[in-house]
């Protein structure tokens, strides 16, 4: 029996290696996370100052559970693929009359041995990468602590326990699939699916269906607002939204499948029909792709989804990370942004020589009335509170705050600044440029013409109750309204830490009346010491760096966990593709030899092989990225048009690793 296990291990070493390596990587990732969870002091340190100490371990536990579930499911799937390759062998054993129990025990033994190697290797690797991961995590969350290797017996026991149970189950599954194989000779599977068929109605319907479904799903994402409105109109509020979500999901899932199973094959078949005299290189590539699409539809589909999910996770986490920073920067443009009420406190902490630069920004508080058009194309009369800024002050601040848009004004023109994206985003479906609308300052009756609407506030949004208006100097000077003074302070690097930590725990809040009468201009604007039902507030002192740090901790942690999951998904994707590629390699080798014998130029042969690998790996990547980009775009819109350079970096990193896998595959195939 040992003999049997040994020969099997040797004979199927390619498969056992793949099994062990994939398991090893998954184990390493799981261990690293489990060890992080156990490393309480480290997590406490990371969470410090962000009121999230207890959330981090909990979030990591969730990630670990997700990863374990996925790993288990994936290993079962991989196991099935691997074992299916040995069907012939089992059939032979049974024909030769090998007793079932012997086959079973040798299969289980084989699984335990190759899996055990993966487990041990994975644990060792996990200990190594745990340090790496901890370092990455600390870096992402902006901490300068140092870490060593994380060796945790508890984590080892947890992971080993799960994996051992898994291995026993996999061995059992192998035994089950090896039994009950028919001893009788079956008719050779007809080549129907694998070879280019005459175009059937079924194929055409599937092809059109695939394009239609995927097209519609794409349209929904591109015009989300339009479709939600439609569905809400047709089916009512929550039912409509739920239905839209469900039908979108179904359309995506089936659409991608049909594109692989029907649309692309149909395109190939039609191309072949139209162009009967292709060169061999081109023709053989198309035929091979047709076969791949038809035979490996499921794995292409699965890898496409894995790619989509991975990219959405990575991309959105990266975007949120960047978004978090951008939000803070937009909110507080300099080191400190303080109002008049906060000023005394700030002054108390600042010593001579701490300040690099100070900006004073006087604003006047006034109620205003304007009719604006919304995305659903209905007009809305809006009364709100504006902090009015003179053009000269705006220009002065803009010299140091580069993200402020350029503004030029005629005497009675004005530029509105608001965070309501409906108004400043004039593009896209339902977008409406409100330029030219009349804005009335209710109390003085001053009439202004809206020139444009932006969302960047001078000195940062944190200093504003609601909206701001930039007006000409003349209008500003003649406006009768209470002055609200804002101050931006840039600290010298040496003073930052001291001043910031001193100011961090102060709590000054400004309140201002926001009731109907005030907004309509019937009452003068009034400040309050405390909140009431009809007040609106803002922080008296806003600090940039501590806010940035907090954002980094939260979103850095998110990015970290998403990257971990992303790696696991990626390993899954690559191993499925690699496996499929190797399975077909045997057949491909015969083809290659024949073509060489017939005198096909060696370069063309090599090109053909590369083209096949590129297409098989490229298709899921392209379709998956396409899906992911749409998904991320929705998030981006929800986030107010967040910057997306980090998404490109995340996609780039993913693509790079992915291409690496493809090249390894191509190289292995070339050696065969």
């Amino acid at each position: 029996m040992w003999q049997q296990i040994r020969t099997d291990l040797h004979r199927h070493r390619g498969m056992n290696q793949l099994f062990a390596i994939v398991l090893g990587i998954l184990v390493a990732m799981m261990y690293a996370i489990a060890a992080l969870i156990e490393a309480q002091p480290l997590l406490n340190q990371i969470g410090k100052g962000s009121q999230m100490t207890s959330i981090f371990p909990a979030a990591l536990v969730v990630v670990l559970v997700v990863m374990m579930l996925f790993s288990v499911m994936f290993m079962v799937y991989l196991n099935g693929l691997l074992i299916a390759r040995r069907e012939r062998e089992f059939q032979l054993y049974r024909r030769l009359g090998m007793p079932q129990w012997r086959l079973n025990s040798s299969l289980i033994g084989e699984t335990l041995i190759s899996g055990g190697v993966g487990l041990i290797g994975g644990l060792l690797g996990g200990i190594v990468i745990s340090k790496l991961l901890a370092m990455v995590l600390l870096r992402l969350v902006d901490s300068s602590q140092s870490v060593g290797l994380l060796v945790s017996p508890v984590a080892i026991a947890e992971v080993a326990g799960v994996v051992l149970v898994l291995l026993l189950a996999l061995g059992g599954l192998r035994a089950i699939s090896a039994s009950g194989r028919d001893v009788m000779i079956k008719a050779e599977a007809s080549p129907e699916k694998a070879v280019v068929q005459p175009i059937t109605a079924k194929l055409v319907i599937g092809a059109i269906g695939g394009i239609g479904l995927l097209g519609w799903a794409t349209w929904v994402l591109a015009a989300l607002f339009f479709w939600t409105t439609q569905f809400v109109q047709w089916f009512g509020g929550n039912a409509g939204l739920g239905l839209l979500f469900v039908s979108w999901g179904i359309a995506e899932v089936i659409g991608v499948y049909l594109v692989y199973a029907c649309t692309l094959p149909l395109i190939i078949a039609m191309h072949l029909k139209q162009q009967p005299h292709l060169t061999a290189k081109h023709y053989l590539w198309l035929v091979a792709m047709y076969k791949r699409l038809r035979v490996n539809t499921q794995s292409l589909w699965l890898t496409t989804w894995l790619t989509t999910v991975t990219l959405v996770m990575l991309g959105s986490a990266a975007m949120l990370y960047q978004f978090g920073q951008a939000v803070v920067v937009q909110d507080v443009a300099q080191s400190i942004l303080t109002t008049k009420a906060g000023m005394p406190t700030v002054k108390k902490q600042i010593q001579v020589g701490d300040v690099a630069h100070t900006w004073e920004l006087p604003t006047k508080l006034a109620a205003g009335r304007v009719q604006l058009r919304m995305r659903n194309h209905s007009d809305k009369q809006e009364n709100s509170l504006y902090q009015v800024i003179a053009l000269r002050d705006y220009q002065r601040i803009r010299r140091h705050q580069r993200d402020l848009p350029k503004v030029t004004l005629h005497s009675h023109q004005t530029v509105m600044i608001t965070i309501g994206q409906t108004y400043y985003q004039t593009k896209g479906i339902g977008g409406w440029d409100n330029a030219g609308r009349q804005l009335t300052l209710s109390r003085t009756g001053e009439q202004l013409t809206l020139k444009t609407i932006t969302n960047v506030f001078p000195l940062g949004g944190a200093g504003y109750f609601d909206r701001a208006l930039v007006v000409s100097n003349h209008v500003y000077d003649h406006l009768q309204a209470p002055v609200d003074q804002l101050t931006g302070i840039k600290l010298k690097p040496t003073a930052r830490k001291r001043v910031e930590s001193a100011l961090l725990n102060t709590n000054t809040v400004d309140y201002v009346a926001y009731d109907h009468a005030t907004l309509a201009g019937q009452k003068p604007i009034k400040h309050f010491k405390h909140a009431t039902d009809t007040t609106i507030d803002r922080d008296g002192i806003s600090l940039r760096r501590p806010a940035l740090h907090q954002m980094r901790v939260v979103f850095g942690f998110l990015l970290f966990t998403m990257t971990l999951l992303g790696v696991v998904f990626m390993v899954a994707t690559a191993s499925i593709l690699l496996l499929k590629q190797l399975v077909s390699a045997h057949h491909a080798r015969h083809t290659k030899v024949t073509l060489r014998r017939l005198g096909m130029p060696a370069k063309d042969l090599a090109d053909l092989q590369v083209a096949q690998v590129v297409s098989v790996f490229g298709l899921p990547l392209v379709l998956g990225s396409f899906n992911a980009i749409l998904g991320i775009r929705v998030l981006q819109m929800a986030l107010d048009g967040s910057p997306s350079s980090s998404v490109i970096i995340a996609f780039g990193a993913y693509t790079l690793v992915y291409v690496g896998f493809a090249s390894i595959t191509a190289m292995r195939l070339n050696q065969m």
Partner: protein, 258 residues
């Protein structure tokens, strides 16, 4: 003109403790326009010889010249060009591509290097008719009988109008009618297009279509028989020679009695 010259050709497979001498100091020549049969017992080295002639295997010692070119001087690319342009090979195990329909299998060698010939369809039609493949054009190799596959392999070898055809038991799986058709065609292109043909066969009837038969045994030249008179007489002398090759007598030159 000498088309093929085989000079002291030796091929040894394996190394040290596990050597098989497939060809042993074999020499002979074939003139342009000849239709030569190669016969000999199983394992005599016939396929090995053909593979070396087709630049798909390399000799251990000795040399092969085709059309005055030493095959050992050819680069990989040159030998690929040679196989593509000059040679038609009917493989013993057919070597068809399972994923391509019969028609594409046959025309494949014509499409390796652009431009694809404009008379592709005409050529396909012609060989298809000749080898009775027209009704099978849209089928796939897995759906064919062995004999049908062999005819596809033959069609693929001759569609390029090669100057030299190497055939490894091209009629092994054919019934006598189909075999006769193929052999008649080979004889025809041999006569009309001056195609030189080397054909390995076990079968005396098949061999009787040739002008000359070279017998090899244990990788070495054994004898040869040249046709002078009727096919029946030639057939009889082939049978005699086959008897003597298995009887073990070694003859250097044998001509048929007429």
């Amino acid at each position: 003109m000498r088309m093929v010259k085989v000079d002291h050709l030796t091929k040894i497979y394996g190394h040290r403790f596990n050597r098989v001498t497939a060809l042993n100091d074999l020499s002979f020549g074939v003139d342009a326009g000849e239709f030569v049969g190669i016969m000999g017992p199983s394992g005599a080295g016939k396929s090995t010889l053909l593979n070396i002639l087709a630049t798909m295997d390399t000799p251990t010692a000795g040399g092969v010249w085709i059309d005055k070119t030493d095959l050992s001087d050819m680069s990989k690319a040159q030998s690929a060009t040679f196989r593509r342009d000059q040679l038609g090979f009917i493989f013993q195990d057919f070597d068809l591509l399972d994923d391509l329909p019969v028609s594409a299998n046959i025309t494949l060698p014509l499409t390796f290097v652009p431009p694809v010939p404009s008379d592709l369809d005409d050529r396909l039609q012609k060989v298809g008719e000749l080898l009775g493949l027209l009704p099978l054009m849209a089928r796939y190799p897995a759906q064919l009988s062995l004999g049908q596959r062999q005819r596809v392999a033959a069609a693929r070898a001759i569609i390029t109008h090669p100057r030299l055809v190497l055939a490894d038991e091209p009629t092994g799986s054919l019934d006598s009618l189909a075999a006769t058709e193929l052999l008649r065609y080979l004889a025809k292109i041999n006569l009309e297009a001056d195609t030189t043909i080397l054909m390995v066969t076990h079968d005396a009837f098949t061999a009787s279509f040739c002008n000359r038969i070279i017998f090899i045994r244990d990788g070495a030249y054994f004898a040869e028989v040249t046709r002078h008179g009727s096919r029946q007489d030639f057939f009889n002398s082939i049978i005699d020679m086959q008897a003597s090759i298995s009887g073990g007598r070694r003859q250097h030159v044998a001509t048929d009695p007429n």
